[in-house]
Symmetry: C2
Subunit: 349 residues, 2 copies
DNA sequence: GGCCGAAATCTAAGCGCTTAGATTTGGGTG
DNA sequence: CACCCAAATCTAAGCGCTTAGATTTCGGCC
């Protein structure tokens, strides 16, 4: 690879100073039209590609923002197994994070911002998130993706937005989403339209603020109906074995609840599979609901009743927060129950 | 925003040279454990975040790769209209490009590479693609996203992979995919299993190499069956009005072909809508097929018969080509007909 | 303590661009 | 031609990091 042409080469060829070359690219309104044409022609003839690292260093800004996530795909063995189930693509992609990312991408696109994607595959991967932060003017991080200590450090230098409805690190901001009332309304639908009385919750209830809100909304509705609230069955998204293990005692006791309310669509889809494998009819013997509104909920059998999160709007809002166009609290962005067949309704899908 | 701490601050606090600080982060095996701990502690205390622009400039490499695409969402008016149809999300996302991007993302993730996304929204947007190229060590570009002149310039400096089965610019490489035989096999299915004889092709046949291959495979099968090949109806993905206009004469003449073979799923989904609006039953009165295998083909009514592209594998392969782990020709990656209800088969979906 | 060799650390130069303030240029006016 | 003013261009300094080769340190041996 030959040495790349620099502003010095372009300047010499165009017969101007390197400052004029720089202005021609960065502030063309400060350069006379005739000079500008000469410079651009010289640059084209030389195949000049500005070195954005140099520009970023000199200018103190890069013009890019970062999005950092954490991948549950930890090793090749696990991924090979998932690939073997490629027929179930829609259960793996797009998920909540993919849809939020899309919102981020679309907003960046609209603004001509470059977007740097990075991720950690090891818990508490401080170097990975710091590496992304060193490349961008602002950072959006998914909940739980990066250690709070790292985010706090980064937030002292550039704006940071945490996705997940809470700020775990000093100096960061977050996008609020109304999980609580979305879940409450879903449970109210189950109570009122289907007359369900025996509820079981599947999923985390306190790991993040948003999971706590979901369980809170569930509890609110049951409490208001004078029903007791049982502790949830332990389960986690993307951990199918955990969800299966959590359901085993329910199946073993041969006495089903009216409905299994799941904390996420991913868990609900696993639950549907477990029930089908056990020969249990949904919603005939037990209803099942999810939360998030991913596309796979429309492909499942039966189509899954869920709560729709405004993922694209979350992504877009995060970008706006990052650029500090929004001051103060933003949101909560609303969620909306989506009624399909898995709760017992005859849905047109 | 206070001046950020640099290697000079860390060095002073740790009592070492800036070179030792640099080695501690970039080549820790060259630093004694005791010194390393001292440096990292000083960095943490100061909230030091390395400036990757500086590193990239000094080192001549950034450790990131770029993915460049072109967006058909050209103005706010158009996007507002699309947003109003949010219920049809799966028709907008994920598309072919989203799935290929996912393959790129997954491969980058696996390798600890940062991925820079950039896009142009104006045709022939040379500054936009050059900006991304100035930030990365290698660039992947979607077919038609960037002017060939820009790609040629960039390819003189860093490796460039063009998606789309052809190299439009000197010095670039491409991922080959077997569109031709996938489409041929689909048409053979229609001929043999359904006895169709009157075929109409909807879509571009020569704009890119891959579109030419699709039409070529279609033509191969018809020619081998002794049938004439009519010119395609002019249509383009993401240009719904064009597809609708192309179909108007077919509908007006009140004499349908046996089957409408579409160049892409996106076009096929528009065709399904047009036919439904006209009260025409698919596949009862006319069969419809697509190409790509996006998720929306499973949600359509009826589910769409199509040819599955290995989008994730395309993305992954592109990264490997870019890193020059693959020399010589790679592929073609295989495509595979996916038979559903829209051709007339009773599919389990 | 001195010597030796390897490991660890340091010095010096420079990567390519930006931009404040200095200098030059160009056009208009008398 | 001289003067003035605004626009255009240039000079000089420096952004924060990397690393080749020079220098120092450390540990082992006699």
């Amino acid at each position: 690879m030959a040495r790349r042409p620099t502003v010095y080469d372009v300047a010499e060829r165009a017969g101007v100073s390197i400052a004029t070359v720089s202005f021609a690219f960065a502030q063309p309104e400060r350069v006379r039209k005739k000079t500008l044409d000469t410079v651009l022609a010289a640059a084209a003839a030389l195949g000049y590609v500005p070195n954005v690292s140099a520009r970023g260093l000199a200018k103190g800004r890069t013009g890019a923002i970062g999005l950092y996530s954490f991948s549950y795909l930890l090793d090749d063995g696990e991924r090979d197994e998932l690939r073997a189930r490629a027929a179930d693509d829609a259960r793996l992609f797009p998920l909540y994070s993919d849809l939020v990312q899309r919102g981020v991408e679309l907003e960046c696109r609209r603004r001509g911002l470059a977007l740097m994607l990075g991720s950690g595959t090891v818990p508490d991967d401080l170097p990975a998130v710091v590496d992304v932060a060193g490349r961008v003017d602002g950072l959006i991080a998914f909940a739980g993706a990066a250690p709070a200590e790292a985010l706090a450090r980064i937030a002292r230098r550039i704006p940071v937005v945490e996705l997940g409805g809470e700020t775990t690190a000093a100096g960061t901001r977050t996008v609020l989403v109304d999980h609580r009332s979305g879940m409450r309304r879903l449970v109210e639908h189950l109570l009122r339209e289907h007359g369900h009385r025996r509820f079981t919750y599947v999923g985390e209830e306190s790991v993040t603020a948003e999971f706590a809100e979901r369980f809170g909304g569930y509890s609110d509705a049951l409490t208001a109906a004078g029903l007791a609230v049982d502790p949830p069955l332990p389960s986690a998204p993307a951990k199918e074995a955990t969800t299966r293990a959590a359901l085993a005692p329910v199946l073993a006791r041969g006495h089903l609840p009216d409905v299994l309310v799941c904390a996420t669509d991913q868990e609900a889809l696993v639950v549907l599979n477990v029930l089908r494998d056990a020969g249990i009819d949904v919603p005939g013997q037990v209803a099942v609901t999810g939360f998030d509104g991913i596309i796979a909920t429309r492909l499942s059998s039966p189509p899954l009743t869920t709560v729709q999160q405004p993922m694209e709007a979350i992504g877009r809002t995060a970008v706006r927060l990052l650029l500090e166009e929004e001051t103060g609290e933003v949101g909560p962005l609303p969620t909306e129950p989506v009624i399909r067949a898995s709760c017992g309704c005859l849905s047109s899908n």
